[in-house]
């Protein structure tokens, strides 16, 4: 049985209540972890569970927006099921084999919870590719195919195509792109393009890589993964072919994010280094 909460633990309870209802900033999280280490009376989940039970109560209110009577859209469910397949053949299979997965890289975005902080790494290339492949197959299942992937064009010829657009990079909020210059060149008819960069800060590829995302006005879910790349630390420049994992219908924004090595399937977009927006 869990010990009763004593109101003398005011600061700890304040932090637990804040976390359960609107989250904590990193300093508050560190303070909470320190306070929890000093007491055995709390697991730390107590008020989260209370809030969860109340959330279930409210969601059951008749006619409430978001009540369970509103089913998850079919497209979202299909993407989840594709994700589940990847899980079963990747991390889930590792669990079944008894392998602990704390260091097993998988897709997704980072978590503050060290128990669920697995990320993509060099050793997980196959798992990541499987994830991307499954997701791609699932997405293509319900999104109309826009174009068949054409043969790879030499980069120099892409810019000469009649529908090719050239868009200059602008710095994103992340400091790595503060001095970025260059452009993205994209042809929708060829479904091909490339990017040039100067001033984009080189990263340690063992820690992070840049990843391109193509926001597509014809899609409702995630932006299209355009591939990962590095900046040559000797020259500070790069020319990179765009490796769109899905057909792009109506590009509305090209964005460069900083991600773990190998990239992610779904970016949390917390580190956006550069953007290029067709006007």
């Amino acid at each position: 049985m869990t010990a009763p909460m004593h109101h003398s633990d005011d600061r700890l309870l304040e932090l637990l209540a804040d976390r359960a209802t609107e989250g904590l900033d990193p300093a508050q999280t560190a303070e909470l972890e320190r306070l929890l280490r000093q007491t055995a009376a709390y697991s730390g989940d107590e008020l989260d569970r209370a809030a969860a039970a109340l959330a279930s109560v409210y969601c059951s209110a008749p006619g409430a927006p978001g009540a369970p009577s509103e089913s998850m859209p079919d497209g979202v469910r299909a993407a989840l099921e594709a994700q589940a397949k990847t899980w079963r053949t990747g991390e889930g299979a590792a669990r079944a084999a008894g392998a602990r997965t704390a260091a097993t890289p998988v897709f997704g975005e980072p978590s503050r919870d060290p128990n669920v902080a697995g990320r993509i790494g060099a050793g997980a290339g196959l798992a990541w590719m499987a994830a991307a492949a499954c997701l791609m197959l699932a997405l293509l299942g319900w999104w109309p195919r826009i174009a068949t992937t054409p043969p790879e064009l030499p980069l120099d010829r892409i810019a000469a195509l009649p529908d090719a657009v050239r868009i200059a990079w602008a710095p994103g909020p992340d400091e790595t792109g503060a001095e970025v210059e260059g452009e993205v060149v994209w042809s929708n008819s060829a479904q091909s393009g490339y990017m040039t960069f100067r001033g984009l800060r080189p990263l340690d590829p063992s820690q992070n890589q840049y990843q391109l995302w193509i926001f597509d006005g014809s899609r409702e879910l995630h932006p299209v993964d355009g591939g990962v790349f590095d900046i040559d630390p000797r020259t500070g420049e790069a020319r990179v072919r765009i490796d769109a994992k899905l057909p792009v219908g109506q590009p509305t924004l090209f964005a460069i994010t900083v991600e773990p090595p190998g990239g992610v399937v779904v970016s949390d977009q917390t580190r956006i280094a550069a953007v290029a927006s067709p006007s």
Binding site: A17, R19, R49, A51, A55, G66
Partner: protein, 202 residues
């Protein structure tokens, strides 16, 4: 939401009996089918929570993918002696969604929620259609003061920040926080007490 005797629940709108016991434990053991079952059973619940805690449906669509990955990874932490499976699922989902909201520095605006009546008590649950923990929590709500009920509903149901609740209700921010904290503590105490009673009886 489910109802029923221990370990089993029934969704009236689906008119079928669902055994909720140990699904997360099956995932933790690496049972491949359980991952798909988890989606079948909880997709709508997670979706409903995501709609409350994301500023748009597009965000919700992204967020549920993250939530389920977290659920699968967190499955081994599920302890049925501490919480019901739906409560654990909602807890993990809420944490993930609140994290996303904070990272994006983008709270849901009250204007996006339509008209909020802070005193509206019509959003009372259909108690025949919720899980055991939620049923206990619903009863616990009745024991809270009106102010505590109001701030908890605005925070947990409408996704309002504490500052937004202060604006909506006219309460000082400190009072909002105190009411939220005391309300959650009381609900938690009642949940624990009920669980202890059930364990003692079994």
């Amino acid at each position: 939401m489910p109802t029923g005797s221990s370990g089993t629940h029934q969704y009236p709108h689906r008119a079928k009996r669902i055994v909720t016991e140990s699904l997360l434990q099956r995932i933790a053991r690496g049972d491949a089918d359980a991952v798909k079952d988890c989606i079948d059973r909880y997709a709508d619940l997670v979706w409903s929570i995501a709609l409350r805690l994301t500023p748009s449906r597009a965000e919700a669509e992204d967020a549920v993918q993250d939530v389920f990955i977290d659920l699968w990874r967190s499955a081994e932490r599920f302890d049925p002696s501490v919480a019901s499976e739906p409560t654990f699922i909602v807890m993990i989902a809420r944490r993930r969604l609140i994290d996303r909201l904070r990272r994006r520095s983008r709270r849901i605006q009250p204007s996006e929620l339509g008209d909020i009546d802070p005193q509206n008590s019509d959003e009372t649950p259909d108690r025949a259609a919720i899980s055991e923990d939620a049923a206990i929590a619903a009863k616990a709500l009745d024991e809270l003061s009106k102010d505590q009920q109001t701030v908890l509903r605005l925070s947990i149901h409408h996704g309002c920040s504490h500052s937004q609740i202060a604006e909506i209700t006219g309460m000082p921010l400190g009072t909002v926080k105190t009411n939220i904290r005391r309300g959650l503590i009381r609900v938690r105490e009642i949940l624990e007490s009920s669980r202890s009673t059930t364990e003692a009886a079994s």
